[in-house]
């Protein structure tokens, strides 16, 4: 397998696994874990096997052409940085999956959880491995989506739903900004592929759009990485199951923003704008996060704010713009993932074992779970930046960087102070976490007596803590090479010399570090006891980011409601009017700007018969419009007559295929409309019995008439102009020439439908299916207008008559009256089916085809419903329209996809002659199978609508219904 294929496979596997996991039984916890774990491990091994190439500075590309002309291809790109992040995603994923196996309760639908988690893993891999900006933005949004689903996993929980919604809105909105920024960036660089963008630093910096693009990209990154002022969603996302918090909200997804900043660091950084936009935000987030974390009473809340603070630290480092700071940022990203994920997992174990996450209620756990306590202590020490742990190393690099002068402004002077204070805060909350949870005696007995978790639940933490120690003690031997390849990839020839040693001698960073450690300890000794009484964090707690967010959302909803009230209507006539006016305006523009001229073709004269036909058709159409309001049945008949005139015109103009289809469509339309007539509200012959018609009504009707006349006239003018122009080389010639040569059929219309334009047809039958299902769903809950609920008069009279006679049962009159017609209609059923099949089979060469055949078939079924009545038909005939639709869609899609198997593009027709015994040579085209799909969809859709209408007649609506008990049901 080539590395290119491997790369594609590594991204695709989690999605395939996600799909598979979704189909596992609800209780299949272990199987789902195995599936997910296997995929993560395989992915990690795969990515690992590519390291030798990456370590030599190679960039692996896997390009699948999609729209090469727009520079949009499915590109995956593995370089030093993306290797590091992909490894992080996969290894963390594997550990979290193992942990989740023991964390998730047996009562939860665990396969669903793993399905979401795998899909998230896939999209996260997509973000880090994409070699194309647009593709990154796409996967970016997908991670937001699966983060939403995972936060809302316990959807019965209000806070989970709220947290999920908030996270989606914030990160989703950020994703849109990111997308816009990327589009601008691609425009500046002259292409969307990452290599193009990374190579055009000068073009980007000199572009006038650079500030805008930078702002948009930064908003995207800051929302995802929970930077101030967008940080508020992250604490609320803690309603998610703890494995999700460990994986998405500390180790990977929140690092996506950081990843983009690192990835684009070479082209975006290095300007004042970058420095002043990124560094202060990072610094503020660093400080605020640490400050708020001190006052948290919820274990996960503390870790969430600590995560925000550490993300701020990384962003600050990237903002500084110096190569060494970028190295520190990459290094700290990895370190933070290891210690923070293990802390989250420890918090999950504590929650699991004691039943609470409230720091005030916890205490003395050292006695019950010494191993977990030890692990948590090491991880917390890494978080605080204690020497010999990985957190210390990157924090040391950070402190060294803030001591440097970067801009010569006030920021340079403030940063060392700020960094030391934030570090002291980090020490303070780390100590508080450990001391309160494991050592102080609990104020009241714990909800549950805790004990050590199952050993395998602890295993992931052990591995991560071991990593903290190893990196902390032997940095150069463990993380060194991987960091080096990532740094070389990001910084290129700017890559600085840096040292990963534990001991750099007594220097200023060490002094700051020790000050922070001592300061944190002293602060805890002084104030630690009082922190338990804190309800909210002082100063920053007043910002109320959440309430602001809610207010903004509510205002948005209010504005939408206002707009809807202003411009929306539930009445059909105004909607139609607006639609027509817009169409008119759009069509009138070319008239106004380009003028109107008749073509050069001569006037051919009028064939009197044809003119007569159109006179009749036109009169029928006019009469239909005239009677539509007060005599609907007559209007319907007249519409049918107008349709017939159209149909004859097609025959006249040598288009038998169209004529056939038109005829069949006319029949079905008329019957379905007839069935619907009964449910329309009764007409009101005279609304203004005494007074004259109000002026505004006159004006409205006059306006509508004017719109209709202008639209019709416009169409006529356009048609006339087109038809008087000479026929030039059009695509029609291509079709006539190639229909048989390439499509294997002599019926050009059908060949166009199933071959040349088969993709359109696929889309059309999809629309048809959607429409049918929509109609069905709407009619299923249809409540007739109050005046048409009553049984029709004729039915009542007949039922009365039947009741009065002892030897008759209700319904006998109808049965008697329809006896002969019914018999004949039943006889016709097989004939019509045969006819439909005949149309289907000959469709490729003669008028017919799947669409016409499908309508013919549904006419057969329609006839049965009319002859026998709904109940009897459904007693005898098993029509499952949804299955027809489904099978039809599948047949069409699979036939189309079948072309791939033979190496042709989608929907290529295969054609040959088959020698069938007795019958002889028979043309056989794969298009017939496609047409069969069309046929099935048409039958299914038409019959589904028919059934929806037919079932109305056997429902017994209650005349006066009390107030609906469930208001929400009707909208649902």
């Amino acid at each position: 397998m080539t590395p290119q294929h491997l790369l594609l496979l590594i991204v695709a596997l989690p999605f395939l696994g996600s799909f598979a996991a979704a189909f596992l039984p609800t209780r299949a916890r272990t199987q789902a874990t195995l599936l997910a774990g296997l995929i993560a491990v395989v992915g990690a091994v795969g990515i690992g096997s590519l390291y030798p190439a990456v370590s030599q500075g190679q960039i692996l590309l896997s390009v699948t052409p999609w729209l090469p002309s727009l520079d949009l291809n499915l590109t995956f790109r593995l370089s030093g940085v993306s290797w590091l992040f992909a490894m992080l995603v996969l290894v963390m994923g594997a550990l979290v999956i193992l942990y989740a196996r023991y964390y998730m309760s047996d009562e939860d639908p665990v396969p669903r959880f793993f399905s979401f988690l795998l899909a998230f893993m896939g999209s996260m891999l997509g973000v880090v491995l994409s070699g194309n900006l647009i593709q990154i933005a796409f996967f970016w949004e997908v991670t937001s989506l699966f983060s939403f689903l995972l936060i809302g996993y316990w959807h019965h929980n209000q806070s989970a739903r709220d947290g999920a919604r908030m996270a989606l809105m914030v990160t989703g909105a950020g994703g849109i900004c990111l997308m816009l920024g990327f589009i601008l960036l691609g425009q500046m660089a002259g292409g969307f592929s990452l290599d193009t963008v990374l190579a055009s630093k000068d073009a980007i910096h000199s572009s006038p759009y650079y500030p805008l693009a930078l702002a948009l990209i930064l908003i995207g990154c800051f929302t995802k990485s929970a930077q101030f002022p967008f940080h508020f969603w992250l604490p609320h996302a803690m309603a998610a199951p703890t494995p999700v918090s460990a994986y998405l909200h500390s180790a990977t997804m929140v690092k996506a923003g950081v990843f983009i900043l690192i990835l684009l660091w070479p082209v975006l950084s290095g300007t004042d704008l970058w420095y002043f936009a990124v560094a202060p935000i990072g610094a503020i987030t660093l400080l605020i996060g640490a400050w708020v974390a001190i006052f948290q009473q919820d274990l996960k809340g503390l870790l969430a704010y600590s995560t925000i603070s550490h993300l701020g630290l990384i962003v600050l480092l990237l903002g500084l713009g110096s190569p060494l700071a970028a190295v520190a940022a990459i290094f700290h990203t990895v370190n933070h993932a290891t210690f923070k994920a293990s802390l989250f997992m420890a918090a999950g174990i504590i929650d699991h074992e004691t039943g609470t996450r409230d720091i005030r209620k916890l205490g003395g756990l050292w006695n019950y779970m010494p191993i977990t306590a030890t692990l948590a202590m090491v991880a917390a020490a890494a978080m605080a930046g204690v020497p010999l742990l990985n957190g210390f190393l990157s924090k040391e690099m950070f402190l060294a960087e803030v001591l440097e002068d970067h801009s010569g402004t006030l920021i340079d002077a403030v940063l060392p102070w700020l960094a030391t204070i934030a570090s002291a805060f980090a020490v303070l909350y780390s100590i508080r976490f450990i001391h309160q949870v494991f050592f102080v005696a609990p104020p009241e007995p714990l909800p549950r007596t805790p004990h050590e978790p199952p050993p395998w639940m602890r295993r992931p933490i052990e591995i991560l803590v071991l990593a903290c120690l190893l990196i902390g003690i032997f940095p150069a031997a463990t993380i060194g090479p991987f960091l080096a390849s990532a740094v070389r990839d990001t910084l290129g020839d700017q890559a600085p010399a840096y040292s990963l040693a534990v001991w750099h001698g007594f220097n200023r960073p060490l002094f700051l570090s020790l000050t922070a450690l001592a300061g944190g300890l002293i602060l805890y000794i002084l104030f630690g006891g009082r922190l338990n009484a804190a309800k909210a964090s002082p100063v920053v707690g007043r910002l109320k980011a959440r309430r602001t967010f809610e207010a903004v959302v509510e205002r948005g909803i209010a504005i939408a409601g206002w707009l809807h009230a202003l411009a929306g209507t539930r009445r059909l006539q105004p909607q139609l009017r607006v639609l027509m006016i817009f169409a008119l305006a759009a069509a009138a523009l070319p008239f106004l700007f380009l003028g109107y001229s008749v073509g050069s073709e001569r006037w051919t004269g009028v064939d009197p018969v044809f003119a007569l036909l159109w006179l009749i058709g036109g009169s029928c159409a006019l009469a239909a419009a005239w009677t539509a309001k007060f005599h609907r049945l007559a209007a319907l008949i007249l519409v049918g007559a107008a349709g017939l005139a159209t149909c004859i015109s097609f025959v006249w103009l040598s288009a038998p295929d169209l004529a056939l289809t038109q005829l069949l469509v006319e029949i079905v339309t008329t019957v379905l409309l007839l069935l619907g007539l009964r449910w329309l509200p009764k007409r009101q012959p005279d609304i203004w019995p005494e007074t004259r018609m109000p002026v505004q009504v006159l004006a409205r009707r006059g306006g509508d008439l004017a719109i209709a006349i202008i639209a019709g006239l416009g169409m006529a003018l356009i048609s006339y102009a087109v038809m008087t122009r000479p026929v030039t080389d059009s695509i029609a010639d291509f079709f006539t020439r190639n229909a048989y040569a390439e499509g294997g059929g002599t019926n050009i219309v059908n060949v166009i439908l199933v071959d040349f334009r088969a993709f359109d047809t696929l889309g059309e039958i999809t629309v048809l299916a959607i429409v049918a299902i929509t109609v069905f769903s709407l009619l299923r809950r249809f409540r007739p207008a109050s005046d048409s609920i009553e049984t029709p008069e004729q039915q009542r009279v007949q039922a009365d008559f039947d009741r009065r006679h002892a030897d008759r049962e209700v319904g006998d009159t109808v049965t008697d009256a329809l006896m002969v017609p019914r018999l004949i209609m039943q006889w016709m059923f097989p004939v019509i089916i045969t006819f439909a099949l005949y149309l289907l089979l000959r469709g490729h060469d003669l008028p017919g085809g799947g669409f016409a055949a499908g309508i013919a078939m549904s006419i057969g079924i329609l006839l049965q419903y009319m002859a026998m009545g709904t109940r009897e038909v459904e007693d005898r005939l098993m029509v499952l329209p949804i299955n027809w639709i489904g099978i039809g869609m599948l047949a069409a899609a699979l036939t189309g996809a079948g072309a791939w198997l033979f190496g042709y593009p989608l929907l290529t027709t295969f054609f040959r002659y088959l020698d069938v015994p007795l019958i002889g040579e028979v043309p056989a085209a794969s298009a017939l199978l496609f047409d069969l799909g069309v046929f099935a969809v048409v039958v299914g859709s038409t019959v589904l609508v028919l059934i929806a209408l037919a079932h109305q007649s056997i429902r017994t609506p209650r005349a006066a219904r009390p107030a609906e008990p469930k208001a929400g049901e009707e909208q649902g």
């Binding site: 008069e793 004729q794 009279v797 009256a817 002969v820 017609p821 004949i824 209609m825 006889w827 016709m828 004939v831």
Partner: protein
């Protein structure tokens, strides 16, 4: 393939005769629909078209295409068959509906009830 203008004279005459006869009969039926007075009379007139009229046109079609293609073309028989079977259903349904309505509304001059 031979086209309609290439028909031999005898065939052309025959075809034209049947075609014209069929059309004329249909036209008479339509005329009757307009002229006759009440529903029960009118409902009979168009049946001229679906029986004799259609028959004439179908025979013309059979002659014309049999001669043109040089082999018997008789699938028009099927059309005649289905027309014959299905037209009465329309008549029956229309007649019953009208009768029913008139009886319910107790109109005068309706066909007698045979019960």
């Amino acid at each position: 393939m031979t086209q309609a203008p290439d028909l031999p004279l005898w065939a052309a005459i025959l075809t034209a005769f049947f075609l014209l006869a069929g059309s004329l009969i249909t036209a008479i039926g339509s005329f009757g629909l307009v002229r006759l007075k009440n529903f029960y009379e009118r409902v009979h007139a168009p049946t001229l078209g679906t029986t004799l009229g259609a028959g004439g046109v179908l025979i013309a079609s059979m002659i014309c295409f049999s001669v043109l293609k040089g082999r018997p073309v008789v699938h028009e028989v099927l059309i005649a068959l289905f027309l014959t079977i299905t037209t009465p259903v329309t008549l029956m349904l229309l007649g019953r509906a009208a009768l029913y309505r008139d009886r319910t509304e107790q109109q005068p001059d309706i066909p007698r009830d045979f019960d």
